[in-house]
Symmetry: D3
Subunit: 247 residues, 6 copies
């Protein structure tokens, strides 16, 4: 099978990190394509950023989706392109935030999310509620650092910072599982897990493993009701490719 | 004061209807500018449509916001540009769905929403929950008609159709207030209210009256935490105007 | 239009403060009448006080309501006379607590309430839940002072005390809007807002601005179902005026 | 022990019915005093009625409470005098609605409430939520009859009417316990229970049995925080008796 | 009447403590039989323990239930045998956790639970939610001690430890009632109550008083829907006594 | 990897059906062992049945768990042995109900569950709430047939019966995914999915695919807090094997 992972921000270094890390966990039979959004901001730290990333993300999806069996949107948020894509295709589409949370629910009672800049705390609580998982979330805590700091600080600095916050989630908030709340934290999961002795979950790996599971059971997105394919209508000022999303 | 109303779909007839109707209710001292999104789909019936309307809506806002005292996003949804704009400016920004619901809560115990195509039922329940108002919502019912049908059927046909569904909301679901769940339903409020003897609320009028209220009390959007202004970052493949959203 | 504000406690100094402050915010075309309950306790710090204030509040309303276009109950609580009045008239009736919370929801994601004596913490959480707004409330914190202390301490002492608690709401509880939880705090809003850089909301001003908005849109209280007018029945030991509430 | 039951409406026939029925269930060692509110409406069908009954109910309580070990407020609602009395005394005070619901939770999974006039449906849902029991309530259904109809129709007519609605609660709403939602329905419980083969619960009996239980375990109302005794303040235009409620 | 109390753990010292203490509170006409589960672990600190205690608890119930009027399961948990017994008999069956919480709701606004080992915090929150009482629970705090420590430490050590945690519940979490969250804490209730000046509630006493109340009102478990008696089916490898649970 | 599936009822025909069906979906590298509980009832239709199945289920797990990489409890319920096993081992343990629901959440907005006898409706709602997924569940509907009817009726009769109820879930309750709520319904998923054009999900397949996903990502059950390994204590009247569950 073939899974398309789209990094909705335009930072190639995030895309590369994701591409490398997923090799450790995918099935041998899974072919992974990782692509960067065709336009948009270099990092996503707000709804404004998220919306500016939407069109470039949909564009990559529209160009590639007929040729693949599942799509991962690799932004740790409730990225709205996940729902738009579920409407326009029936192959499974997963966001990395929801994926990490579902996995967390299978191995613990309450998860916490460790994210980057403080604005994400509020946005991720909204996401948790939207997924219907508020009863399972112990806390959302942030490093107080911009997303791109993950590129600018040393690996050890970032590691220590994540570890410190994750420890508070366990010791203060009683979380028994940690979700790493940014695609840029890829690769820290196993090390923090050893240190804290709780499962630590990366969203991109989660999403890939869950799409493999859905594919293995031959389950696709429901096309009735909420995710029904949208009807064609005139589009003004947009590339013709976007017409392909409609019936 | 000056209020900018943006119609996020590219249907000028909706924009015109809104422009005409609001004259009946605005304060004499309020100057209303109604504009259509600069790009996007002709109607919004799905998340896919909504995302395709986002960039063109933000563009109009960025071009006009320094010159106005409040912005209304005239799509009956939880349109994400509302939050993006709250991040990038401190003048009040209101969506028409939330505005109608807050007004409804002031004059009744439980509101229902009458919307257009069936997919909106699920999307508007999500919106209601996101606003934190699920306890106050009796039901969301749809006409089972595409949004653009509001243009294609006769006024009397549309009126009868809305009336029939609104009556079910009152008689079956025990709603004591009705919210008209589409900007294209503008102008039907008072007539249906007379017929059913419950308040019937239009979102665009609600949003304008609430922004006038906020302005009269000199209250602006909070810029701490969730709506903090986003930090500048490189934008790829987007018009330079979008840089203006950042600090 | 004409708005009747009733102060349900019998402290004239509160009534005066409200009368003065509202002049800063009302529309030029709005005529404001502020009256004190005809009987009851000097301040309201408990349900017992609240009930002792009810009859005197209803009395003032019954004497004046045919001559006005909206009523504000100026006690920061879920004062039951709000609902009784919605039953017996169709002009808009708003409590100041709900009014401040609705405004807060329009300019922030989560509000906190700063109240007076500690017993109000529990009562105001009940109010928040009753309004259906628990998802939007970050915290309720009290000064630990009786209501009448607002009269007995110096303005600066009260100001510092409110500021300190409001700061905790923002810094510890992550509120991005503050509601001033007592009619006696009238006039502190703008000063605390400057200091903390978040919107700070006074309930009386909120209620007046919202009734102006409802009036401008010509929306009145629903008279179907919950707020249907009560049927006449014999009253024993009560002034005949109370018969006027019934059909 | 001695339990004071106060009927907050001024209908002596209700008081008599309660007095007679409770003899079947009270402990031999329990002394029951049933009294009618000293002023107020003949029946309670709205918040307006409820507030007009409050002062006359508190008056009876203040006159008698030092001499008894528990108080029952015999109105099937979230009558605010329950909370006022919990503030001013430490003997147990129970409303009949909450009492019936707690008992229902002990013998079934989901209860329904059968009430009188339609306005009570909304008020009793509010009550259920306030008690924190919404998860246990299957439905609230009304007979569509004014409270005083319970006096005017024949016993058989009332019985049939309650039975029909209670049956819908079981068969349509999946309730496995029925609460009789009006003090005037006293005496129908066992007969409807036989017919429908589910427990049917009368609020007055429930409250008396629960106060006996609390008394037997020597548990009284908490006087810390929410139910702390209110501080003395000037009362204007009220009988001096009401001063006794304060410290 | 006759009430059977079953201690589901096999620690006779717990059984003895319960037997002694209940004499202080039961009605003179109530005959109490206290029995220990016929098999299982010496204490219950996990779901694993709970399940190992189930068969021995059901065995005692099956042997004795035809001869009694109510059953108490004396483990402070959401012990599943409570529901199994409600299915197979119609006499009232109460767990001690739910019983203490219902009583707590009658004399306060928010209760806290003080339990033994830390794992119970999560299990008791689950229980609170299952009973539908999450809105009424301020906190669950544990002593951080295994259950059997209640036997091994001196009474004064245990007392001090419970007192310290209960004080935090009141002072930090704003609880106005305390529930003692372990059958082994029997006998500490009144002393801690005196010290903290809030009601402190023992589950076994609560359950007995509530079953007396239900019995006095002649209310039994609903046998429709959820608690319908299970149909007979082959049992493999189990004592024939268990067949008696089926129709 | 090796996955142990335990059928907690003692009906070998269910075990066989599960064993056959899973071959269609497991990874080639997965070795599946399906075993029947060593004691207990022939079907599980109540909490009483569930508890009688617990010891025999744990016994099989204790005998086999050291030799496998994941355990599936193949009863469509919130079977308590899932939690007991999570306590005593760190390999992933999944129930089939939760597994089907997590998968459903990935491909739709709201799932419905189609179960067997009516008593399961209430029990499965409890399960849904316990998993924290109530916001995602449209309805639980039952066939009104005992579990063993799945063996006694013809395949076509059972198919028609499930199809009819599943159709109501989609058309009346607006579910866009169906979960088959009994292990005995194994094998009907794809056929009903074709007919109704929504995903239809089998719990056993879901659990196996999710354990494969967890294993592929090398994630195991959290051993901190709720699922900490229980401490050793004396066991009375139980096979010595059960000691192996303790530290």
């Amino acid at each position: 099978m073939k899974i398309l992972i789209i990094n909705p921000n335009t930072s190639e270094s995030f895309t590369d990190k994701i591409r490398t890390n997923i090799q450790n966990y995918k099935l041998p039979t899974t072919n992974i394509i990782v692509k960067t959004a065709s336009s948009g901001p270099e990092s996503i730290e707000s709804i404004y950023d998220e919306l500016l990333s939407a069109q470039g993300t949909l564009e990559i999806a529209l160009q590639n989706m007929n040729d693949c069996d599942g799509i991962v949107i690799a932004c740790y948020s409730d990225h709205p392109t996940v729902y738009a894509l579920r409407e326009i295709t029936d192959i499974p589409v997963l966001g990395i935030a929801e994926s990490s949370m579902y996995l967390a629910c299978m191995v613990g009672t309450q998860f916490s999310i460790v994210t980057t800049n403080r604005e994400w705390e509020s946005l991720l609580w909204d996401a948790v509620k939207h997924f219907g998982l508020a009863d399972r979330c112990a806390s959302v805590r942030s490093l107080g650092l911009p997303v791109l700091a993950l590129e600018n600080y040393s690996t050890e600095e970032i590691y220590s910072s994540i570890l410190e916050i994750a420890r508070k989630c366990v010791e203060v908030d009683n979380a028994d599982v940690i979700c790493l709340g940014c695609a840029g934290m890829t690769g820290f999961d196993k090390r923090i897990s050893s240190e804290l002795d709780v499962p630590v979950i990366d969203g991109v790996v989660s999403a890939v493993k869950l799409i493999e599971a859905l594919d293995g059971y031959r389950i696709r997105t429901s096309k009735r009701l909420a995710y029904a394919r949208p009807r064609y209508k005139n589009l003004i000022g947009l590339p013709p490719l976007f017409k392909n999303g409609y019936i």
